[in-house]
């Protein structure tokens, strides 16, 4: 009996110790695991706040935009003209066939505690290089004041301040083509002030050289052109935001070239040119999350007054010239599911008054218009692919069916885009 009890106790004790050992083992294992995890974490995490020392550490942020477009035009682009509008050298629907679009190279960084500097080079498909933008901008000034100097896109309009790769359509609105020769950029100085209010209020002005198209050819002492602009913007609830703006670009061109510039037989205009612009942008994104669905509606309206004289050997114009012309566009782009966007745009131009001493322009009072549709697939923020169709009735004789297929890739450091 005693023996029996003893053996039972021994067995029980033994099995208990085995059980205990087992739990011990699993405890130790768990403990080891947590220690291992901790070690790993420590190894993975470099000491906080230690920048990597390197000779390149202060290099500017570099980004590159690569783009290519297939263009199909039913009308010959070489004969392109907008009836009644004196066009600059960049006004064209594009070149037929496969081709790369201008490559953009951006560099930018803080220069010192007070200044930011940036440059954008355009590498053209014809192997030429253009300095698109090169400027300094203050970050250290107080009271909402920012000063920018160098070469930059003027603050007028809505699209004008943005790089073309950030536009929602592949080509420029007709108003930009007719009045700004694609986009207005110039050398000079810009001052902006933002009011200390909850509503966004921005006032700005620019003193410019006057070398861009709507000015053009006024090399002289002093200021060749100036602009004034204002923007007001805010939110409407959490899902909607808006901005409206207005601007005046005032120039006194001396020998502004238009017409047959390529053959070096241009018409030249001298006098006063004033361009008034108004624009609005309205954006919608459910809960302020644009990634899944969003919509943007945007419009601009331009009014230009030219008073002076125009002359040209080929067109036979000479003497007094006076024009009152307007144009604008309305566009909407809707992202209906992640990565896919579709948009529509309508463009118009109008001539309200056009007179020249020789009467050459008297019968050129057309009203160009164009309708466009775009479908875009944004694979991720760095690569997008899009196809656009234009029904272009901007020529006076016949309509042009235009198809564009484009890829646009962003390499390197690329921050967000302006509103």
């Amino acid at each position: 009996m005693f023996r029996y009890i003893l053996s039972t106790v021994t067995v029980a004790a033994f099995s208990a110790s085995v059980l205990a050992a087992e739990t011990d083992v699993s405890d130790t294992e768990q403990h080891l695991q947590t220690i291992e995890q901790r070690l790993q974490r420590l190894e993975n995490a470099p000491p906080v706040n230690t920048p990597v020392a390197s000779a390149n550490a202060f290099n500017p942020a570099i980004s590159l935009i690569l783009s290519g477009t297939y263009t199909d035009l039913s009308q010959d682009p070489a004969t392109y003209a907008l009836p009644g509008f004196a066009l600059g050298d960049a006004a064209s629907p594009g070149q037929r066939g496969l081709g790369i679009s201008p490559t953009e190279l951006h560099l930018g960084t803080n220069i010192d505690p007070d200044l930011y500097g940036a440059m954008a080079l355009i590498l053209n498909p014809d192997d030429t290089v253009a300095l698109e933008e090169v400027y300094f901008q203050t970050i250290g000034l107080d009271h909402g004041v920012t000063v920018k100097g160098g070469r930059f896109f003027s603050g007028i309009g809505a699209l004008n301040q943005k790089h073309p790769h950030a536009w929602d359509f592949i080509d420029e609105p007709l108003a930009y083509r007719a009045f700004l020769n694609y986009q207005y950029r110039d050398d000079g100085l810009q001052v902006r002030w933002i009011a200390p209010t909850e509503t966004f209020i921005e006032l700005g002005g620019e003193a410019l050289r006057g070398s861009g198209f709507v000015a053009g050819g006024n090399e002289k002492n002093g200021v060749g052109a100036y602009s004034l602009f204002a923007h007001i913007g805010g939110d409407a609830g959490v899902s909607q935001s808006w901005r409206i703006g207005g601007a005046l670009l005032n120039a006194a061109p001396r020998g502004r070239e238009s017409g047959d510039i390529a053959a070096e037989l241009p018409d030249t205009f001298s006098g006063d040119s004033r361009l008034w612009t108004t624009d609005f942008i309205w954006k919608w994104a459910p809960n302020g999350n644009p990634r899944i669905r969003n919509a943007v509606i945007q419009g601009e309206y331009f009014w230009r007054e030219d008073d002076g004289s125009m002359s040209g050997a080929v067109s036979g114009i000479s003497g007094d010239y006076r024009a009152r012309q307007s144009g604008g566009y309305l566009q909407g782009v809707y992202q209906f599911m992640p990565r896919w966007r579709a948009g529509l745009r309508h463009d118009v131009l109008a001539t309200h008054e056009l007179s020249d001493a020789s009467g050459t322009f008297a019968d050129l009072n057309g009203s160009p218009s164009r309708a466009s549709a775009i479908l875009e697939f944004t694979k991720n923020p760095f690569s997008r692919f899009r196809v656009q169709y234009n029904h272009d009735q901007s020529r006076d004789d016949s309509s042009d069916r235009q198809v564009f297929v484009q890829y646009q890739l962003s390499l390197g450091a690329h921050g967000g885009h302006q509103f």
């Binding site: 974490r41 993975n44 995490a45 470099p46 906080v48 706040n49 505690p113 007070d114 930011y116 901008q137 203050t138 970050i139 250290g140 000034l141 107080d142 009271h143 909402g144 004041v145 920012t146 902006r192 002030w193 933002i194 009011a195 200390p196 209010t197 909850e198 509503t199 966004f200 209020i201 921005e202 923007h231 007001i232 913007g233 805010g234 939110d235 959490v238 935001s241 808006w242 901005r243 954006k283 994104a285 809960n287 302020g288 999350n289 644009p290 990634r291 899944i292 992640p338 990565r339 991720n380 923020p381 760095f382 921050g415 967000g416 885009h417 302006q418 509103f419």
Partner: protein, 298 residues
């Protein structure tokens, strides 16, 4: 005319001197923390809501106007706001909140960041060079940031330094007690295998011992594809998980699709203050997070 000029001068000079400190928080969790420590001595504007994706915010005019008025920015940093904050800072004409100044506070620089990539290449998706920026999903990180924020507030506004210290001490004590409570409640979650939409809950995993075995996004920031989701279904047959986690701003469809196939619950975690109705402050955020996780485990 004189009146107009003096009005303009007043507008230019802006705020009266002894008003409350104007703080702009990039994300709701830091706004809530600034209110906890700053009390009535700060006026906090929060740039994003708990339902918004802080990676993808428009540089809206209203935000430029707020940065222009701010005396202090409290943001996550670690590149989380790199798509919009630099644009706002460059346009606002406000030197007090530029990077490197006292007024620019980056929460992520006060915690140990995880997932710092050893390789920087865009083929790996939308990765952050400075590591995973969603540090607020671990309350111990909030405590570390609170310490630094209290110090910084005292530096910017030394007159009220004592006030901030007192409020900080009060908050820190309540927070430490709450962490103990959450850890006790969340004990059953240790070792639980989960799937997540985005690498948003890495710090939460680390805190509670959850184990994320798959992400619905094939690469960080890349939208889930049907191929990738099918792969996860296959993976889960070999390695079963208990639930699918997502932040409020992640589209619900991918996790609901997977939830149906894999027969495990899809759980939306608030992620930040305002991410759910219950997460109305920092304490509510973690109360709700732990409750939702426990509910899904049952």
């Amino acid at each position: 005319m004189k009146k107009i000029i003096s009005l303009c001068v007043l507008l230019m000079l802006g705020q009266p001197v002894h008003a409350a400190l104007k703080v702009m928080a990039c994300e709701p969790e830091w706004g809530a923390l600034a209110r906890e420590i700053g009390g009535e001595n700060v006026v906090v504007y929060i740039a994003t809501t708990g339902l918004q994706d802080p990676h993808a915010i428009e540089a809206r005019p209203s935000l430029i106007a707020q940065v222009r008025r701010a005396e202090m920015l409290v943001c996550t940093g670690a590149d989380l706001e790199s798509g919009w904050l630099p644009l706002l800072l460059r346009q606002a004409g406000n030197p007090r909140v530029q990077p490197g100044t006292l007024g620019y506070f980056e929460a992520a620089s006060f915690v140990t960041r995880m997932e710092i990539p050893t390789r920087l290449d865009r083929s790996d998706g939308d990765i952050h060079a400075a590591g995973n920026p969603h540090i607020q999903t671990d309350p111990r990180n909030i405590a570390r940031v609170a310490t630094a924020l209290a110090q910084r507030l005292a530096e910017i506004d030394p007159v009220n330094a004592g006030f901030y210290q007192a409020r900080y001490r009060d908050f820190a004590a309540r927070w430490a007690a709450a962490i103990v409570r959450w850890e006790q409640q969340a004990a059953p979650l240790r070792g639980v295998v989960v799937v997540a939409h985005h690498s948003y809950f890495v710090y939460l995993d680390n805190w509670l011992g959850l184990k994320t075995v798959a992400y619905l996004e094939p690469k960080p920031g890349v939208q889930p594809t049907s191929n990738h989701l099918a792969e996860i279904v296959a993976q889960l047959q070999r390695q079963p998980a208990k639930m699918i986690l997502r932040a409020p701003y992640n589209g619900a469809r991918p996790s609901e699709w997977l939830s149906e196939r894999a027969k495990i619950p899809a759980v939306m975690l608030p992620g930040t203050v305002g991410g759910s109705n219950q997460a109305n402050d920092l304490f509510g955020l973690f109360d709700d997070t732990v409750q939702r996780l426990l509910a899904a485990l049952k």
